[in-house]
């Protein structure tokens, strides 16, 4: 395009096109998906003949079961153990592990120290790096690959996520004095379940994520915190509830043209009788479609700012499906100061995405 030509009337275009220029979406994967692989030093030896292989491998597998992610043999070279394991000499170490004499003899010839990958490959890029050092096992994970290369979303899904990012910015600017805003979406339609801002209270622990979780609870006839706000009232005999939405946010969205086609509301809890629900009915309630709404199961959360540790853990307890956020925060617990979603011991794990500009 001629640099001197007048700017094309971009504003007239539908919002969708602008969004594509504004944001990308990047999955924040845990460290085990990192591209630079970790190496450890290991002892290897070269066997005299291939006839020794079977006996050697069988005994190593039983008595020194290291390197599950690697192939134990590379040509006639055999991996014995990490060098860090050895206190005295290799021979002593093998004796301590009751390696029989003839295998020990075979292993103690032509000993080398080699560098091998410390853990298994999760992604093909890692695998391609690793095989330069030593042959390894690899089970491709299509979904992990798609998260890594960004092909996990369809065009329309990607567009919706970006619209939510834009919405967070607008709501924060127009209704919340630039303070954090959070949106909860049921991704099946998709439909906006709840919206919360953080300007409601100056209390140190009432962050907007904590409000949002409580507003979602409202949509399930729960909720613990008193709010200054009015919430949308449901009409009679409705199939979904708007009760997680503060009236001010709802009115704002209704009044904006570019939000016209958005859907609102949460599925009603399936157990509609007024009996207090029992825990045993919730045994396998982590599937939104199967069991209906329970906490934030299956829901997506969009945040203006990366959540702190308290909020990030609140979203683990609430079983959210995915978190999307725009800006990193100093005390953020998903990328900045910690990666809560990478803690394996937790009983629930959500996916995390950051909008990139």
């Amino acid at each position: 395009m001629d640099a001197c030509s007048p700017p094309v009337a971009k504003r007239a275009k539908p919002v969708e096109y602008d969004l594509d220029d504004l944001f990308g979406i990047k999955a924040l994967l845990s460290d085990e998906y990192k591209q630079d692989i970790r190496l450890i030093k290991a002892h290897s030896c070269q066997l005299e003949s291939k006839q020794q292989l079977q006996a050697v491998i069988q005994e190593l597998a039983k008595k020194l079961p290291h390197f599950q992610h690697l192939k134990r043999v590379h040509d006639r070279n055999v991996l014995i153990c990490p060098t860090a394991d050895i206190e005295d000499t290799l021979e002593q170490h093998l004796k301590q592990h009751q390696i029989s004499d003839h295998v020990l003899e075979a292993l103690c010839r032509n000993v080398n120290v080699v560098e091998v990958p410390a853990s298994s490959a999760k992604l093909r890029v890692q695998y391609d790096q690793m095989i330069k050092y030593w042959p390894c096992k690899f089970h491709p994970d299509k979904y992990a690959e798609s998260l890594q290369n960004g092909s996990n979303f369809t065009t329309s899904q990607r567009l919706y996520h970006k619209r939510m990012a834009q919405l967070l910015r607008n709501l924060s600017r127009d209704l919340n004095k630039g303070q954090p805003v959070a949106i909860c979406v049921d991704p099946r339609q998709p439909s906006i379940v709840a919206i919360a801002g953080s300007n409601e209270s100056a209390n140190t622990h009432k962050h907007c994520v904590m409000w949002l979780v409580d507003y979602v609870a409202r949509s399930q006839q729960g909720g613990a915190w008193q709010s200054q706000l009015d919430f949308v009232e449901d009409e009679q005999n409705t199939t979904k509830t708007l009760s997680g939405l503060p009236q001010t946010y709802y009115d704002y969205l209704q009044g904006h043209e570019h939000c016209e086609d958005l859907q609102y509301g949460a599925e009603l809890p399936r157990r509609t009788n007024n009996v207090e629900f029992q825990d045993d009915q919730l045994t396998s309630a982590d599937n939104l479609s199967k069991y209906g709404p329970y906490l934030c199961t299956g829901y997506d959360i969009y945040l203006l700012r990366e959540p702190c540790l308290m909020c990030a853990m609140a979203l683990v307890h609430s079983r959210v499906k995915r978190i999307f956020f725009l800006e990193q925060s100093q005390n953020g617990a998903l990328v900045t100061s910690f990666q809560l979603h990478a803690v394996k011991e937790l009983n629930h794990h959500y996916e995390v995405f950051q909008f990139t500009t």
């Binding site: 209390n203 622990h205 979780v213 906490l295 540790l309 308290m310 853990m313 609140a314």
Partner: protein, 160 residues
Amino acid sequence: MAAFMEEALVEARRARDAGEVPVGCVFVHGDVIIARGGNEVNVHRNATRHAEFICIDATLAYCREKHLPARQTFSEISVVVTVEPCIMCSAALHTLAVKEIIYGCENDRFGGKTVVDVAAVVGQQINITGGVRAEEAMALLKEFYKGDNPAAPPVAKKRK
């Protein structure tokens, strides 16, 4: 201070009787209990309504009523809770900078000390004492779960 654990256990039993996970907590300010509570997750359909959060909210109400500065009051509070605070509660208590935390049994699922070092992430050190009447606290949990956590997702569905 550990004598207040009996009061926390009372709250834990009350939570159990209400069909909630049996964890109880009291906040002690100058030898006086100013807030007490048990888990209220199920009744509110809100997974963050842990005993500690009930007490944090109650403390703020107490400060408003007595015209006390909240931040300073929290710095003088001993948190006595039957189970090690989870990562969320521990993060909140560290951020509020309470004086100390005294707990009963460990929480090896979500513990803010056992599973994640919350003090290091938040950047705030608090005196923490564990193991006070731990067997009784654990017995309540075991009785409730009977070896199986009804709130946990199905084990078979291992996510890739």
